[in-house]
């Protein structure tokens, strides 16, 4: 029974005891680290295969159709078929493309997403590595993804790829601001940036303590991964395929896989920061249950991302950037100030939770009236234009 309660601990104790008899201590530590790294990154890569299938099935159901159901039972082998197809496609590098940047960009894109999984707390005691700056590390790793987009667009020697890359980078860096600010709210509530402490301190889920911040985090993360309604980066009717126009074969496959993995990672991060991570009945005793809870919550977040994708139309870029800078950023700053002051004033007091909820509701109501007033003023300005000369018959 104890093996099932903590399989990872049991297996790693077994392997390290075995290695201690063979090698000196430093090498053992290195090999254990290596095995941990391989385990976490394999998990990340293998789950992509499952994710693509889930995405296609659920998107299909939203659109009242069946989705892939030919390759294997219920279409489960569809992703394998797609991967095989992509591997056999020719790898065309356009003439005059910058070869080094062109080849590195898809690899950097995958690395940027995989690196996030190094600090995800799967269960109490199961984590890649517990950095004491875990939250900021996740934001820093996201900047590598932005860099890969820029490199991909610039090195393709293609006007539309470059244009798409610029717009993509403008979108990504704009939405990083509310994401960072709303990430500070769980850091404030948990009094630390370590991911393990973040989950351990969620006796009350943070979505209850900071609901609006959670929603803003989800919205800006959806924009960060480039999903509808923010997916004008890949809007086929507008700029072909955006920054990865010139990529073929497996390199495109890498961008593709990185995007799906990033979407799921966002769901898991939302679960960790706001939905309590691996917390659930019986999770402390049996770490395996903790992993199951985390995956369930992560899939719930991923389902919301897919739901939003299937429901909302695409936003125009100027609307999208105005939404970010004029609505999400001031709102998230106001919420941060509110959370900081309420946390300090009501420290240790039981009235903390209702005070935070009331504060959030107040800010939400105020911002609603504010935006309604602004939109009325903007509509009035647009409607009262100057009179145009009447068309006269020739």
């Amino acid at each position: 029974m104890s093996f099932f309660q903590d399989p990872v601990g049991a297996i790693s104790a077994l392997i390290s005891n075995f290695l201690y008899t063979l090698l000196p201590q430093a090498w053992t530590a290195l090999i254990m680290t290596l095995l941990g790294v391989v385990a976490v990154s394999s998990f990340g890569l293998i789950i992509v295969i499952f994710l693509i299938w889930v995405e296609r099935k659920i998107a299909a159901r939203f659109q009242d159709r069946l989705g892939p159901n030919r390759a294997g039972p219920y279409g489960l082998l569809q992703t394998f078929a797609d991967m095989v197809k992509l591997v056999t496609k020719e790898d065309v590098i356009p003439a005059k493309a910058d070869r080094l940047a062109f080849n590195i960009a898809p690899i950097l894109s995958v690395v940027a997403v995989l690196l996030i999984w190094a600090v995800v707390p799967f269960a109490p005691g199961w984590i890649g590595t517990d950095l004491n700056v875990g939250v900021l590390y996740i934001a820093a790793v996201g900047s590598f993804g932005i860099l890969s987009v820029l490199m991909a667009g610039w090195s393709s020697n293609n006007k539309y790829a470059l244009l798409g890359a610029f717009r993509a980078v403008a979108q990504l860096i704009s939405y990083e601001v509310p994401m960072l600010i709303t990430l500070m709210v769980p850091v404030l509530l948990a009094r630390g940036m370590g991911m393990v402490d973040m989950v351990k301190d969620q006796t009350v889920w943070f979505i209850v303590l900071a609901p609006v911040s959670g929603i803003i985090f989800l919205v800006s993360s959806i924009a960060e991964i480039g999903r509808t309604p923010f997916d004008l980066l890949e809007a086929e009717s507008e700029i072909v395929a955006g920054y990865h126009t010139e990529y073929t074969g497996m390199k495109f496959g890498m961008f593709f896989a990185a995007e799906f993995l990033h979407a799921f990672t966002v769901g898991v991060l939302f679960a960790i920061f706001f939905l309590g991570g691996w917390r659930g009945p019986g999770a402390e005793a049996t770490p395996l249950l903790g992993v199951i809870y985390l995956m369930l919550k992560g899939f719930f977040g991923y389902f919301i991302v897919m739901w939003v994708r299937s429901t909302l139309p695409r936003i125009r870029i100027d609307h999208m950037l105005a939404l970010n800078w004029k609505f999400l950023t001031p709102l998230s700053l106001a919420l941060l100030i509110l959370t900081a002051i309420v946390e300090k004033v009501f420290e240790g007091n039981a009235w903390r939770v209702p005070a935070l909820l009331i504060g959030n509701a107040l800010i939400l109501i105020v911002s609603y009236y504010f935006t309604r007033a602004i939109s009325r003023r903007v509509t009035k300005e647009r409607v009262t234009f100057k009179k145009r000369p009447v068309a006269k018959p020739a």
Binding site: A26, D98, N132, A140, S143, N157
Partner: protein
């Protein structure tokens, strides 16, 4: 040589090499990419010095914002970003002379410093440097005045840059 020293030598070499390559590249966007490698090398050195927070802030701010700003600036000001620039001009000789003098002065100064071979004192395991940094930043007998002045400085930088870079009203 411990593993830590080996890593430091390797990353020091990578940083210096990419810094050198950055200043000698004639293609400006390539230079920006090598700058990113050099900045990442500095972040790794921060990790080696037990300053994890500074390392992630280095990556987040320098690579995630400043390097992108520089690439945008390069693409904004060049007619064609892939066209090769001249990487040396006629002051080449004076520049080499000054650099050699500066390097010589640095080596002499460092050679006279007694503590150059000493190891940095290791922190006790229980200390959380980020918490200490945070309380130092806002404590009245800490760095609160520089903290607030920093925000005013950021405000001034923002306003100044917007005044300079804002598109002219008449064109729109």
């Amino acid at each position: 040589m411990t593993a830590e020293q080996g890593v430091f030598l390797f990353i020091g070499f990578v940083t210096l090499f990419s810094a050198y390559t950055m200043v000698t590249r004639s293609n400006l966007v390539h230079a920006a990419l090598f700058l990113i490698v050099a900045l990442f090398g500095v972040a790794v050195i921060f990790v080696l010095l037990d300053a994890g927070f500074l390392a992630v802030v280095q990556v987040l701010v320098y690579i995630g914002a400043i390097a992108i700003l520089m690439i945008f600036a390069v693409m904004l000001t060049q007619d064609n970003a892939s066209r090769d620039q001249e990487s040396m001009n006629i002051n080449y000789g004076w520049a080499v002379l000054l650099s050699a003098l500066f390097a010589f002065a640095l080596i002499v100064m460092l050679g006279q410093w007694q503590d150059i071979g000493a190891m940095a004192p290791t922190l006790d395991a229980g200390r959380d440097t980020v918490v200490e940094l945070g309380s130092a930043l806002v404590s009245p007998d800490g760095y609160v005045i520089p903290f607030e002045v920093a925000s005013v400085l950021l405000l001034a930088a923002l306003i100044g840059a917007l005044v300079v870079a804002r598109p002219q009203k008449k064109g729109k």
